[in-house]
């Protein structure tokens, strides 16, 4: 097994060394890295089996909301190893069971076979039902002892900033300058977001990203911004806003929040690329690859293929290459540049491997080649993380070049009063724009709370914002979003092939949803056989977007694919209604809300 830990640590401070017990074997890790990373660094890539087809599952993304694989930790079932951090002596059990009758079972759950006369027959169905009930690979609920009970904290603030990245920090700092009480919620161990992982200069900036964001973080602390780390905003309810932290382990802490304004700076989601066997452990998103490297000092692989010669893809390659990793970039367009090893004109990718990725087969126009890689990084496309703003009531629409975006104006206001967006969550490309948008959102919150001087400061900043947009060449796209905010009209343009699609036909082994094993083929059938062309109906006929990750990884890909197959605009396909919670919460934590103190 090659060692994936790089000798020099990246920009991060390492936590204490701990050893944890994984299926009986002792494994070394650090308290500063999620359990997923400890497992990955020690060569354990498959933690779980998928729900229907029992395929090996590792993590695709380290984001806590991407709950595609779970493990048993200290006897507690269904724990996402990406959201918890190791302690000495922690016991982790992975799931590798694969029943013998799986072949038969596979055919039973296949959505097309479910409706075949032989299966739906009144005499056969009860037997089939028993088999399905028994063989769906769901975690076993067990009663476990909780050392520390769940607790509830009531928080009041003027402004709640969701997300601790550069946009969120900028918003918090700016609002704090005008005297607002600011509460910042971040799901990481420490705020900083994506830019904290950047050793290079982000676009439009003249210093490494982590240096910039660290300074901003110090500023926020100095000004008295209150931060809740390892916490996720889970829902906007009619009567309250709720946040949740999975600590203490086994129960958790809930925060019942009320505030006058909210800034959603939840960043963006790297969309999974869709190709054959794209669910194999070892295939991950760009943000996880960078984060593992710079924060935890673990390289994603020794030979890495990167899908998409985007700004993001090149950035991943640059980072990995600094640590002597062989990288190759695969892109759909024909152009290739000399600086990086880019293979252009890629039509199809097929991943090869049994329990982990061992190689990929690449089909370009006219030729096909096999690359021995141990990791594939998906960097073809990103979409704003709209779960929180959409659920809060902001209108979400598709704009070419940005993805599904909460519709906003140049003051970062959304269609919901008191709700602002900034940074990746507003669809803006990574870099200096995130900082500017964050500041504008913070100022808009101050304006909404009638703070004197905020409005004129905002005018000045918006001018600067518009000129940066022009300089970066995305002025037209962003202006079309601002215009939609005013006019309520949406672009009805059709789309060509989705950028994440590396698959020439609707294959049965190209996965769209990793939680429920929903394939490209299932979506294709829903559109062509049943004639369903809105995502709400596709969702209900296939189950896409209804499982543990709440559609974080699958909804945008599904909407774009359905639009592509049906020849419609993504706005007429729509993105399904987002409902609370964004991250699932244990019953005992919910039951404890309001019992003590409140």
């Amino acid at each position: 097994m090659t060692n994936l830990r790089v000798k020099e640590p990246g920009v991060a401070r390492k936590g204490e060394a701990v050893s944890i017990n994984v299926d009986g074997a002792i494994v070394e890790g650090f308290t500063s890295e999620p359990v997923s990373v400890v497992l990955y660094a020690n060569g354990i890539r498959s933690f779980d089996r998928s729900k229907k087809l029992y395929r090996p599952r590792g993590f695709f993304s380290l984001h806590p909301q991407a709950r595609t694989a779970t493990v048993i930790v200290n006897g507690i079932p269904a724990v996402n190893p990406s959201e918890i951090y190791p302690t000495d002596g922690m016991k982790v059990r992975t799931q590798q069971r694969r029943p013998l009758f799986i072949r038969f079972f596979e055919s039973m759950v296949d959505t097309s076979l479910l409706h075949k006369p032989i299966v739906r027959n009144r005499l056969v169905w009860p037997i089939a039902l028993k088999l399905i009930g028994k063989s769906i690979n769901n975690p076993e609920p067990v009663e476990y002892e909780v050392k520390h009970g769940a607790s509830t904290v009531v928080e009041n603030a003027d402004l709640v900033v969701v997300g601790g990245g550069v946009a969120g920090l900028s918003a918090a700092v700016e609002a704090r300058k005008y005297g607002l009480e600011v509460l910042q919620i971040d799901d990481g161990l420490e705020p900083g977001g994506e830019m904290l992982c950047d050793e290079l200069e982000p676009p439009g900036m003249s210093e490494p990203g982590y240096v910039f964001v660290r300074r901003l973080r110090e500023k926020a602390v100095e000004l008295g911004v209150k931060t809740l780390p390892k916490t996720t905003l889970v829902g906007f309810f009619e009567d309250a806003v709720l946040a949740f932290s999975p600590y203490p382990l086994g129960s958790g802490t809930s925060y019942v929040i009320s505030a006058k304004a909210y800034v959603c700076a939840t960043g963006s989601v790297d969309l999974p690329c869709i190709f054959a066997n794209n669910d194999l452990p070892g295939i991950m998103d760009a943000s996880s690859a960078i984060r593992m490297l710079t924060l935890h000092g673990v390289v994603a692989g020794r030979n890495v293929a990167i899908l998409g010669a985007t700004e993001r893809g090149l950035r991943v390659a640059e980072h990995l290459r600094r640590h002597a990793v062989n990288t190759i970039i695969l892109d759909k367009s024909k152009s290739s540049s000399g600086k990086h090893d880019i293979i252009g004109g890629v039509r199809e990718v097929i991943a090869v491997g049994k329990n982990r990725l061992t190689a990929i087969e690449v089909r370009c126009e006219g030729e096909s080649l096999r690359l021995n890689v141990d990791c594939v990084v998906c960097a073809a496309s990103v979409n704003p993380d709209v779960k929180v703003p959409a659920q809060a009531g902001a209108r979400v629409a598709y704009f070419k070049g940005l993805g599904f975006v909460p519709v906003h104006d140049c003051f970062m206001r959304t269609k919901k009063d008191g709700l602002f967006v900034a940074g990746g969550a507003s669809g803006s490309p990574y870099g200096v724009l995130h900082a500017i948008e964050g500041r504008i959102a913070g100022l808009s919150a101050a304006v909404a709370l009638n703070k004197t001087g905020a409005e004129s400061d905002r005018e000045v900043l918006v001018k600067e914002y518009r000129s940066v947009l022009k300089k970066l060449g995305i002025s037209d796209i962003k202006e079309s979003v601002f215009k939609s905010f005013e006019t309520d009209s949406l672009p009805e343009e059709k789309i060509s092939e989705p950028p994440t699609l590396f698959c020439m036909e609707p294959r049965r082994d190209a996965f769209v949803c990793f939680c429920e094993d929903i394939r490209l083929w299932d979506l294709y059938r829903s559109v062509t056989v049943y004639g369903f062309t809105s995502l709400e109906k596709v969702k209900r006929s296939t189950g896409v977007g209804t499982a543990r990750c709440q559609g974080r990884l699958c909804l945008v890909n599904s909407a774009l694919y359905v639009a592509y197959v049906a020849g419609l605009s993504p706005n007429s396909v729509g993105i399904a209604r987002q409902r609370p919670l964004t991250l699932s919460m244990p019953i005992n934590v919910l039951a404890a809300i309001g019992v003590g103190g409140n």
């Binding site: 269904a78 169905w125 009619e238 129960s251 019953i587």
Partner: protein, 378 residues
Amino acid sequence: MRVVVVGSGVIGLSSAYNLARMGAKDVVILEKEYLSYGSTVRSASRFRVHFWAEENSKFALESKKIMVRLPSITGWNILVTTGGYLWLLFNEDEVKVFRKKNKMWDRLGIAGKFLSPSEIKERYPYVYVDDVLEGFFGPQNGSCFHNYVAFGYYKAAAKLGARLFEKSPVEKVLVEDNRVVGVELPGGKVEADVVLLAAGAWTDGLLRNLGINLPTEPERKEVALTEAYRYFIEPLIIDFGTSAYIGQALKGEILGSLEVPVKSGLLPLENTLDFLVKWARAVYKRFPLLRGARVMRCWSGYYSMSADSSHIMGRDPDWPRGLYVAYGDSGHGFMMAPLIGKLLAKNILYDEVDELMRPFLPTRFKEGRLIPEKLVIG
């Protein structure tokens, strides 16, 4: 003859299918959002035959017979399970009521079984029964997958020539010379000889526009769902006192709800933390095994509540000719839909009022022949 069905919920679709099957040539379904938007997609998808009122029990019994045959009728496997319903009863009065009702159910051939707390524990070891006096188990009840029921009906109706128009909100029913002539949409009108209002909670508004006032009101209900766990809760388990219920879907998600006081009316389809916390507490107490289970999602939908909590179908002879309704289901429309559609189609095409349907006519309110239904769950 053109029939316009307003609403593409399971009742509208089942009516459209039956109309088309019985020979209606021109059936048009108008839906304000998308296929089966409204109450059907938000349903907890259960069916039962045990109702307070004998009329409802009889109706549900016949409806269930059609429901379980649906896979062969529509070609969609609706994933029927028959795990039963388990009512947990907490005091003598509740037990007495169920004993009395069971005599009626016995007469209909659907007698249930009374279980002592220890018997419940034996069968369903995961239920906390220390505060339970007795349980009533109705093995005839079960669940099926609501989306496949609706999609199946839609596909079958479309095959027979019924046409669905989505994003077509009906604003008004048009009446001339005391007969229905069509409906008005934002972009124009659709002519019709018969208009069937099956728009669930939105039916009240359309009727009120015509000066018809039936004692119905939408009531928002919330539902919560956990992540998927291994399938182990077979029946739907109901706390009779608080109306809290919990059941497990085939995919493994554990789903349930309970009653929280809300204002009636078309409240926004949002959720409240109040509901979620109360439901979590009910689960925490009743199912110790699920204390660490993770709640994944909640949503809300409307029950179209009628004054006596029984559904309303058919027409009042005083109404404009050609106007029919099917709504006011008070939370059990999904399970009644197969029979409602069938009987209503007969009623519309042949002017026939089936004996099973007669008690549910809208005239019952002014004639004072109510069908009080007290077994409303959730």
